[in-house]
């Protein structure tokens, strides 16, 4: 029987040119590989080496054989990897979302429901979310509008309403609402990974400069310590000492979220809505 170790050694031989070097690379003795190659040749039943008394090299047929060997060895590695990955995917519930805030409650809700599974979330644009839901990558997706797909249910999850975070001594700190235009021109702090929110401030406040922070904890630190204004929402951003939180009145600052999953998961979807309602901080 043709054995995988023979194919691996054949590939190593092709890569290193001599049995000596190849055997060293593979980690077997030189005579062992010499034998392997002879047995492999017998297995194929046709010559794949040109030999002289103290040299051995691949002939044309051997080079073909190496191509096949490479493909097979590679496909075996890929198979192992894929099987493991498939096993993991069966044990993982992946949720895709257009924004981070609604993910938090959905993920925590799923974690308490499926205690034996891995719950993971990731950000993606809308088309990626929908195709991922269809091909099974995502068990649930969170979008800013309802997704109509046969076999899937969409429910309204709730709203996220953006606010400005201003220092208490800011000239506009006493206002009950503000619009983007009111602060256009001020430099502001902004987080990098906030999904579709990412582009809104720069679009609505074209004269402002934004200091983009990648790291979440560093961002929170900056918000607390600096006097720069920043953003929060009813779903994100704790109350901070010396800061005021003022809702933004523009319609773009309010967005609805919908969560979509298989029809068979409809019960879970409604449970998500309940959990969402009970944990939001208006």
């Amino acid at each position: 029987m043709l054995e995988l170790y023979q194919l691996e050694e054949l590939v190593a031989f092709a890569d290193h040119g001599t049995i000596s070097k190849a055997s060293e690379a593979v980690g077997v003795s030189q005579p062992a590989m010499s034998r392997s190659m002879r047995l492999l040749e017998e297995e194929f039943g046709v010559p794949i080496f040109n030999r002289t008394s103290n040299s051995i090299e691949l002939n044309d047929t051997g080079k073909k054989a190496v191509e096949y060997a490479r493909a097979i060895v590679e496909s075996v590695e890929k198979a192992k990897e894929s099987v493991r990955s498939y096993d993991r995917s069966l044990k993982t519930i992946l949720v895709g979302s257009e924004a981070p805030a609604p993910l938090w409650t959905v993920l925590s809700m799923l974690s308490s429901t499926y205690y034996d599974k891995t719950i993971a979330g990731e950000m993606k644009d809308r088309s990626g979310l929908v195709s991922g839901l269809r091909n099974g990558t995502y068990r649930f997706i969170i979008t800013t509008d309802a997704v109509r797909l046969p076999g899937f249910s969409t429910v309204f999850l709730g709203e996220e309403r953006l606010s400005f975070i201003l220092p208490s001594d800011h000239p506009l700190a006493s206002r009950s609402t503000l619009s983007f235009k009111d602060l256009d021109g001020e430099n502001m702090l902004l987080l990098e990974h906030i999904g579709f929110w990412r582009d809104l401030p720069e679009k609505m406040m074209p004269h402002s400069k934004f200091f983009i922070q990648d790291d979440n904890t560093a961002f929170n630190e900056l918000v607390r310590k600096s006097s720069l204004p920043s953003f929060a929402s009813n779903l994100a951003g704790e109350n901070l000492e010396g800061k005021v939180k003022i809702p933004i009145s523009d319609k773009e600052a309010t967005v609805e979220f919908y969560v979509t999953g298989r029809n068979t998961d409809h019960g879970i979807l409604t449970a998500m809505v309940r959990r969402f309602s009970s944990t939001r901080s208006d």
Copy 2:
């Protein structure tokens, strides 16, 4: 290390449903396969079976694993086959031709030149010949007109001139030449595998009926024993007792043959022409 025999046994298990039946099919003992499957599972590192105390079945991950196993086992088989076939192709000189007669001398000439190789010939239409020459399937091709291809040389091999074979007592047996029209309406014997010649008689003699023979020796027997007219040429058909061979005067009954091969084989090509001239029987 993951071993091929494990993958084969996994496939057998998937096909037969139980280890007992699968082990029987593969030809190993049942405990041996039980062990193989456990080791394979450990090799993947993730569960691929659902087990109860006296049953074992594939789980979803296992079914994925079977898919990969099938592909790998198949590709290994294919690799062995391909390597052998490639080896054979290296040892074979294949000549393609539009007609059988010129093949005979070319093949015999090649046989005496490359005594350590297998010389083979086959019939093909012109486009198949040219593409086969380009992709290396054919070392030489014989066509009815010159083939102009960069890297390849074409030489004129010679003519084939078709004749009628008539019984000596045939009314037209004394003529020195005949045209297709002269015998149109007579029933005739015809060989099946004669390349482009195959369609010519039926086209030129629409009122004749042709008795098509597949087997060459049976055809020769029929020609000798029956009184039906048939075809021969300067390249094909021995002189027969009680028969006369009368050349056909139509221009369609004469065809030129060219042989084409790599530029590096130019010496062989000219040798072919010499051999062809010396062996034809006008």
